[in-house]
């Protein structure tokens, strides 16, 4: 289940009105979510939630669900 704040943050970074972001959704399935815009998504999430991701943590992400779980672990370890 993707948190609605995270969903809005991602959609805002990609300048998308709406898109069904599910746990198993990958970047390739979302319009405009290419390697150039992926950085914008990560920056937006870090800024919105006040967290900092390590490079290797981000490079391992395979789906929106992975991003959600990484974000949750950062928030809970604060």
């Amino acid at each position: 289940m993707i948190n609605s704040d995270l969903k809005q943050t991602i959609l805002g970074a990609l300048k998308l009105e709406d898109w069904d972001l599910k746990d198993e959704t990958t970047a390739a399935e979302v319009p405009g979510w290419d390697s150039l815009h992926h950085v914008n998504v990560i920056l937006a999430v870090e800024k919105q939630f006040g967290v900092k991701f390590k490079n290797l943590e981000v490079l391992k992400l395979k789906s929106v669900g992975d991003l959600q779980r990484l974000l949750d672990s950062k928030i809970s370890s604060r």
Binding site: S35, L36, V39, I42, L59
Partner: protein
């Protein structure tokens, strides 16, 4: 034993025949032995040793990474594996320049020239690094079977010039049971033959003309440089895609599908698009393992972080191709083209969008023409023997009409070149529109015989090596 040699034409059918009669569980041994024999035929002990070293280190490193929980030790193991592979790559590539520095007589003795061959190292070391990184990122599990892992790195159709295969694509195929397939046999042989045609009839012919100019730049000017630059753009495509077709074709005989390396690269609408269509396995490698980590690491610098990552990535790409300034400049040029695109394309798209011309057919044609010319311009640095030669060509591109006239060069007839190019473009045009397998038997077999005739009569067999073999 290079792909366009008679020995290879006898070698791979022999391997295929043996493959048919061996029990399924031992088939990997046939391919591994064939691959080792193929590499041994180069008579380069340094290469065999470095390949064996990479196989052993990467096999054990991959298993060790997978066993470790998340943490600093797991990361250290990954870095160890990466450094070991890069170490082998640099050691093999720089052995000759190093020995030339400390003992020139030995280094330049033709009797020892086989010690300094670097064939294949650039490809399987990158493939090995991608294997370790993918294990680290939990994209794949490590291969437990040592023999299959060695085969994954050394499979003879792709050993010398790639494609650089991802573990997730190739490893599972090496474990599948084999069922002889007439369709794969037919397509594999056809692919191989088509690749051979591209290499011997198109690339080798063009190389004769390009070589005339690029080996003696000061004797030429103006139109000669422009013509041979465009010729080289076609030569290198025919050469490398020809090789790739031969590699994919032979692999298909064993029901193994290697990665497509080319997808009409000169119909790209931007340099970024070009790199999604040219040497695809390599550009995906530098995207995933160089560009993305750099870009992510520099994300706080915004678009300038992306620009910096592009410049570094493509300079690395240039240097991977060759440790000389002209290759570095070639790579850097592409980095600059891509950086400019990142900085200016969004604005340009918006401007054209407001006047409703963003996807206009004329704009698309202009984009294709501009992209092709940018890429062809950069190829000057790739082909030139030195930076000063490249500089001379670039500063004399429009110096007028010289006395260079395309004549028949001995046995190399210009009319045959035109015919070969017509065949190449004609087939590329028809391939996407006509399904050969659906044509009547008479049509299909007539075309097969015509292809064999074309290879035999239009082919140039003067020992011109494959361009990408030197990397």
């Amino acid at each position: 034993m290079f792909f366009d040699s008679l020995v290879y034409l006898l070698f791979f059918p022999a391997v295929w025949l043996v493959y048919q009669f061996v029990p399924d569980r031992q088939r990997w041994i046939v391919l591994l032995v064939a691959s080792i024999a193929f590499y041994t035929a180069l008579r380069a002990p340094v290469l065999l040793l470095s390949w064996a070293g990479v196989v052993v280190v990467s096999y054990y490193c991959g298993r060790a990474i997978a066993r470790k929980p998340e943490g600093i030790e797991r990361t250290r193991l990954l870095w160890f594996g990466i450094v070991a592979n890069i170490g082998v790559l640099c050691a093999v590539k720089y052995l000759h320049p190093f020995l030339e520095f400390i003992h020139p007589a030995f280094a330049n003795n033709p009797a020892f020239s086989n010690l300094f061959l670097t064939l294949g190292v650039s490809y399987y070391t990158l493939q090995s690094i991608s294997y370790l990184a993918d294990i680290y990122c939990e994209i794949v599990e490590p291969e437990q079977h040592f023999g299959r892992f060695a085969l994954y790195l050394g499979f003879f159709p792709k050993l010398l010039q790639g494609p650089i295969e991802r573990a997730g694509d190739l490893l599972p195929q090496l474990s599948l049971p084999y069922h002889a397939s007439y369709e794969n046999l037919r397509r594999g042989v056809l692919l191989f033959a088509w690749g051979l045609f591209l290499k011997v009839a198109v690339a080798n012919r063009l190389a004769t003309y390009v070589g005339l100019v690029y080996e003696d730049v000061h004797a030429h000017s103006g139109i000669a440089f422009i013509l041979t630059t465009y010729m080289y753009a076609i030569q290198i495509l025919a050469d490398f895609s020809g090789y790739t077709n031969m590699a994919l074709g032979v692999a298909l005989l064993f029901n193994i599908r290697l990665t497509q390396n080319f997808n009409s690269p000169y119909s790209a609408r931007s340099v970024a698009d070009f790199w999604r269509r040219w040497h695809i396995s390599f550009s995906r490698w530098i995207l995933d393992y160089v560009f993305k980590p750099l870009q992510m690491g520099w994300r706080n610098a915004g678009v300038w972080g992306t620009v910096g990552a592009l410049l570094v990535t493509f300079t690395f790409s240039g240097l991977w191709h060759g440790a000389s300034w002209n290759f570095a400049v070639w790579g850097l040029l592409h980095g600059v083209f891509l950086a400019a695109s990142v900085l200016f394309k969004p604005g340009l798209d918006r401007a054209f969008g407001t006047i409703g011309l963003r996807d206009h057919p004329i704009r698309r044609v202009v984009q294709v023409v501009v992209t092709f010319n940018l890429v062809a311009f950069a190829w000057i640095f790739f082909r030139a023997n030195s930076l000063s030669d490249a500089g001379y060509i670039v500063t004399h591109l429009f110096s007028g009409v010289s006395d260079y006239v395309i004549l028949d060069q001995g046995d190399v007839k210009f009319a045959s070149l035109v015919l070969a190019l017509c065949v190449m473009f004609g087939v590329n045009f028809l391939r996407t529109r006509v399904r050969l397998s659906r044509q009547p038997l008479l049509v299909r077999w007539s075309l097969y015989y015509l292809l064999i005739l074309a290879i035999a009569h239009l082919g140039i067999y003067n020992g011109v090596g494959f361009v990408y073999l030197q990397f």
